[in-house]
C-alpha cells in the first residue's frame, strides 16, 4: 500500500517540477504580494498631512503630535482654504490670537479616516493649549501614555497581522486550486480510470495526493515564512513549528476541498469559477482584513463555520501573541475535525465518480 501511495505522491512532484507557472504561483506570488503590501503599509501611505497655523500657535506643538500618524507641514503664505484645495495638506488647523479654544479646522473631507485623524489632533491641541495658565497642565496631559503591551509590542504593525493571515490564505488557496485541477485533468485524460482499474484504492489515491501536496505546502510555508522573517522583517513572537502545524492542517483541508469540488466541476475552468464562492468569502469573513468580532451577527455565525477563521486565529495567536500549543488548542481541534470530515467527504466523492 505504501508503495502505491508513494508513487502517486512522487508522480505529483514529477508533474510539478516541469510546470513552471504553477511553481511560480506557489512560491513566487506570495512573496511578491506580501512585499507589495508591506511596502505600501510601511511607507505610511495613509499618513495625514496637516498644517497648524495662525497667530495663536505656540512653540511646543510638534512634540505633542503623535509620531508617524501625522506629518506636519508648513503652508507658508497661502490661506488655509487654498492650501487644502491645492492638495498641499489634507487639513489646516488655525489657532487665533485668543488661544486654542477658538481654533477652527478646515479639512478636505474625501477620506473619512483622515478627517477623523485631523479632528483628534485638533482635540489634542485644544487640550494642550486650551487656557493660558493651564497650558503647562495641558501639555502634560497631552504627553503619550505609558502603555503595557500584553502581546507583541510597539514595533508590530498591520503588516505583521496581515502576514500571519496571508500565510494561511496562500496555502489553502493554492492547494485547493492545484488539487482540483489535478483531479479534473486525470478525469479528462482518462488516467483516473486507469487508477480505478489498478490495485490502488480510492483512499490510497487520496493519500498519495495528500503526500504530494503536503510536500509543496510545507515547502511553500517554509520559504514564505523565511522570506517574511528574514527579508521583510515581519515581527513574530512564537514557535514557528506550530505555524507549520497549522499550515499542514490547511494543506489537508485544501486538498480535501479540491477533491470535493472537482466532483461537481466538469472542467478546470469550472473549478476556478468556484474560487469566488469558496475562497473569497473566507478571505472576507475569517478575520484576514476585519476582525471577526466586528462582523454583523449573521456573518459572524457563518465565519465560525469556515476553516480559515480558525487558521487565521491560530496563526496570529502564535506569531503575534506568542501562544503555545495550549493557546491554540481549540483552533487546532476544529481544524483537525474539519480536515478529517472534508477528507472523508472528498474520498467518497472521488470514489463515486463513475467514469
Amino acid at each position: 500500500m505504501l508503495e502505491r501511495v508513494g508513487i502517486i505522491a512522487l508522480r505529483i512532484l514529477w508533474q510539478f517540477r516541469r510546470d513552471r507557472r504553477s511553481l511560480a504561483l506557489v512560491f513566487v506570488v506570495p512573496l511578491i504580494v506580501m512585499t507589495l503590501m508591506t511596502a505600501l503599509i510601511r511607507s505610511g501611505g495613509q499618513s495625514l498631512e496637516m498644517a497648524v497655523t495662525g497667530p495663536g500657535v505656540l512653540p511646543g506643538v510638534t512634540p505633542i503630535v503623535p509620531e508617524g500618524a501625522v506629518k506636519l507641514k508648513e503652508i507658508g503664505a497661502k490661506s488655509a482654504e487654498q492650501a487644502v484645495r491645492d492638495g498641499d495638506v489634507y487639513a489646516v488647523l488655525t489657532i487665533p490670537r485668543e488661544g486654542a479654544s477658538g481654533a477652527t479646522l478646515i479639512v478636505d473631507g474625501s477620506d473619512p479616516g483622515r478627517t477623523e485623524g485631523a479632528k483628534q489632533i485638533t482635540r489634542l491641541l485644544k487640550i494642550a493649549f486650551g487656557g493660558g495658565a493651564a497650558s503647562a497642565a495641558g501639555i502634560a496631559l497631552a504627553q503619550p501614555v505609558p502603555t503595557t503591551y500584553l502581546h507583541a509590542g510597539p514595533q508590530f504593525t498591520t503588516t505583521d497581522t496581515l502576514a500571519a493571515a496571508l500565510l494561511g490564505l496562500f496555502v489553502i488557496l493554492f492547494t485547493y486550486l492545484l488539487s482540483a485541477v489535478g483531479v479534473l485533468r486525470e478525469r479528462s485524460q482518462g488516467t483516473l480510470e486507469r487508477l480505478r482499474a489498478s490495485p490502488a484504492t480510492t483512499t490510497e489515491t487520496v493519500l498519495g495526493y495528500l503526500g504530494g501536496f503536503l510536500f509543496f505546502g510545507i515547502a511553500q510555508s517554509v520559504i514564505v515564512l523565511g522570506f517574511f522573517v528574514g527579508v521583510l522583517r515581519i515581527h513574530h513572537s512564537g514557535n514557528l513549528a506550530l505555524v507549520l502545524l497549522v499550515q499542514t492542517l490547511l494543506v489537508i483541508i485544501g486538498v480535501a476541498l479540491g477533491l470535493v469540488f472537482s466532483t461537481v466541476s466538469a472542467n478546470e475552468l469550472q473549478a476556478v469559477q468556484l474560487i469566488p464562492l469558496i475562497i473569497v468569502p473566507q478571505i472576507l469573513m475569517s478575520g484576514v482584513i476585519w476582525p471577526v468580532t466586528t462582523l454583523p451577527i449573521v456573518l459572524k455565525q457563518l465565519a465560525y463555520v469556515l476553516p480559515l477563521t480558525y487558521a487565521v486565529d491560530a496563526l496570529r495567536g502564535v506569531m503575534i501573541r506568542g501562544a503555545g500549543l495550549g493557546g491554540i488548542a481549540l483552533d487546532l481541534i476544529v481544524l483537525c475535525g474539519a480536515a478529517i470530515l472534508l477528507l472523508a467527504v472528498g474520498t467518497r466523492a472521488l470514489g463515486r465518480q463513475a467514469a
Partner: protein, 257 residues
Amino acid sequence: MAAMVEAQGVVLQFGDRRALDGLTLTVNEGETYGLIGPNGAGKTTLIRAIAGLIAPTGGSLTVLGQRMPSRTVAAKIGYMTQLEALYNDLTVAENLRFFATLFGMAKSVQRERMAELLALINLSDREDSIVSTLSGGLKQRVSLAVALIHKPRLALLDEPTVGVDPELRLAFWDYFARLAAEGTTLIVSTHHLDEAVRCDRLGMVRAGKTIAEDTPQHLMAATQATTLEEAFLHIARQDDGMAGNEYRVSSVQNTTP
C-alpha cells in the same frame, strides 16, 4: 482449461439504455480471444466490466474466479482503452515507471521490462519525450505498453491497432503470440479480420448479446464461407432474421487483408 472470464447473462443498464443485454461468453485461460462486432454493440462496455470499472446490473461476471467488480484481481489485469489515458505532462518513461509501480512490479525488474516494451513499440529513443509532444499514433503505442508493463495474466485490449501502420500491426500481433505462448490470456477487440483469424476463438457481439462464439475455422465451416468476412455477414443476417428487424449490416467493415 480453466475459465479466465465467465460471463453469464450479463446485463448492463445505463439509465434507459441496455448496453449489455444478457451477454454470455467464456474465455479460457491462455487463449487469445477476439471480440468482433459493430460499434456500439457493447464490446467496450464488456471489456470495461471485465476490468472492474463498471458493475453488471444483472447476470454474473467472473474473472479469475472472482465476481466482478473486485479489486483483488486488479493487479493481474492489464487494460488498454480507446482513449490513450496517459499523463500528458510526464515523459514516456515516467508514465511506464508510474504504472509499473502502481501495479506492484518490483523496482529491480522495471528497467529491463521497460526497455523490452519500448523496443516492442519502437519508441526506445523517445523514452524521455513528454507524452503531449507525441502524435496520436505514438501515444497509442505507449498506452499499449502501459497496459502490458506489469506482465498481467489477463490483457484487455480495446482496438489496440486502430491507426497503426501494417508493419507495426504485425509486430504487435507477433508480440501477442509471444505473450500467449507465455500463458497470458488476451481479449482483443478488433475490426481487422486478418487479426481475428489469428485468435484462438472469436466472440461476435451484437446489440449487447453474443450471437456466435467459436474458433475462426469452425465459424467458416458452419457458414460454408471461404473468408471470415463472409462468415460474419452470414451470421449477422441470420441474427437479423431471427430478431425480425430491419437492421442493416454494417459490421465487419475495413476488411483490408
